[in-house]
Point group: C2
Chain length 308, copies 2
Amino acid sequence: MLKAPDHQVAGHQAHAGKLGPLVDGSGCFYKPLQSGERGTIEAAFYSSFSSNSKVPTHIRRFFPTFHGTQLLEASDGSGMHPHLVLQDIVSNRLDPSVMDIKMGSRTWYPQASEDYIMKCLQKDRESTSVALGFRISGLQTFESEKLGYWKLDRDAVQDFTLEDVKLTLKRFVSSNPSSNAEPDCLLASTIYGGSDGILAQLLELKAWFEDQTIHHFYSCSILTVYEKAGVGEKGSRSRTGAEVKLVDFAHVVDGKGVIDHNFLGGLCALIKFVSDILVSSTNRSKAEGDLKEQTEEIEFSIANDSKA
Amino acid sequence: MLKAPDHQVAGHQAHAGKLGPLVDGSGCFYKPLQSGERGTIEAAFYSSFSSNSKVPTHIRRFFPTFHGTQLLEASDGSGMHPHLVLQDIVSNRLDPSVMDIKMGSRTWYPQASEDYIMKCLQKDRESTSVALGFRISGLQTFESEKLGYWKLDRDAVQDFTLEDVKLTLKRFVSSNPSSNAEPDCLLASTIYGGSDGILAQLLELKAWFEDQTIHHFYSCSILTVYEKAGVGEKGSRSRTGAEVKLVDFAHVVDGKGVIDHNFLGGLCALIKFVSDILVSSTNRSKAEGDLKEQTEEIEFSIANDSKA
């Protein structure tokens, strides 16, 4: 029984008779091959990547597992259509928070057509891509059983400024994302921080991008995913399932012996933002901790004074 | 007594009645302020940078020392003209090898005029900037007393392909740069390698660029400089004076709290090339060393055999 995914935050969606991805609820994500060379390129990428012995094992976890292609009834009712069979990244999650970040200051590549280049260049200039090296394409953050998800779709993010991006990276790990108040970043140390948190995973990816010259990943997205329910459970950092995944490879080109400086530059900018949020939230917790300690000391000395 | 510099490899030159930089032969480089906002921006950059306490001391050595501005007789005979008074990077060198590398996949910045953006974009696409994240703007390598310098001026480098750039980065540290034969990279381990060689300096600069959000350095160049005479002198690595310097700040803009991912991406690509040259030349020396050892062992056993 295939159906449209519940937690898709960007890209074409299989709603209202449109062609879009489907999930089977037991771990597979069926992505319709895009028309023209985009579909060919993405299928070729998954096929070559999954069998490339030069890709280190610890890097494979950042890519959805590939299970080949399959002819399926298309979601738009247009008949049979070839689909990529991929790992469904959120299949065993209850209330996943997901952010889609389109990487690169430039989403066009030199070999593309002039029309395509000019269209991409305009989008890159209108969005934060040129300024930041990436843009947020969509997100959902689970707030609470009562409030449900705080969501930003394509329309909501398309006019994002630098300040909007900074704020959204904070809201994504806050207990009060939908509030107009300053995001509290209460989940930052658990989700962004830690030895296998989002930041550590981004740094691992960065080290690979400083060296790999196999592929250039134009218009590719980083997904950051986690499970709020896992936060706060003692000794269960892994229960948050904080995870970084790369998706969307319809514009991957041969690296020709050069590193992907365009993706890498944006990745470094993202790392710096995430790391700044982590530092300031840690400092704040520390300051609050210090304050609490001071307060307790004062209370203790007051209590002692009153005894004396 | 001011004169045109002997070792300028790129940029406007003070020849044939043209406006260009002058040197005094005792350590100062006088750069005429460019017209319009370019001159204003560069003077403002030097002035603010030299007094900015947020710039770490170990990073300052990558920038020419700034000694203010001064009105001087212009090299084109047009009368008095304001000049930046800067450290002359090659003043106490005998036969400096110099390479000028214009950094960034993109030499334009969002705030620039549409005409300027389109002009830069075209140059970036025609050169290796888009593909590599940098382009070589000119170089000279000292070959020998007899052959003098191997030079590539602006015209020679403007049609450079990826392969030309790779080859030139090898030739820059070869004893046979002007030859059509494969560059021997004999100087690679001394100039690129070592604890204070070019690669180590580039890595130090990279660490700063991963963190600094003060300036974005559009159209800025990295100069790599060394002295061939120093190579091979025992215990005198420092005599080669292998040095990395940043120059040309007429298009520096406010970083607005974002890292300079455009410069950083190109820097990472450059680092990867330099590091590959170093690894393969070290492997070759090692292979040649192994071969020499094997040959000596064989000769030794032959000699012993004939004695027996």
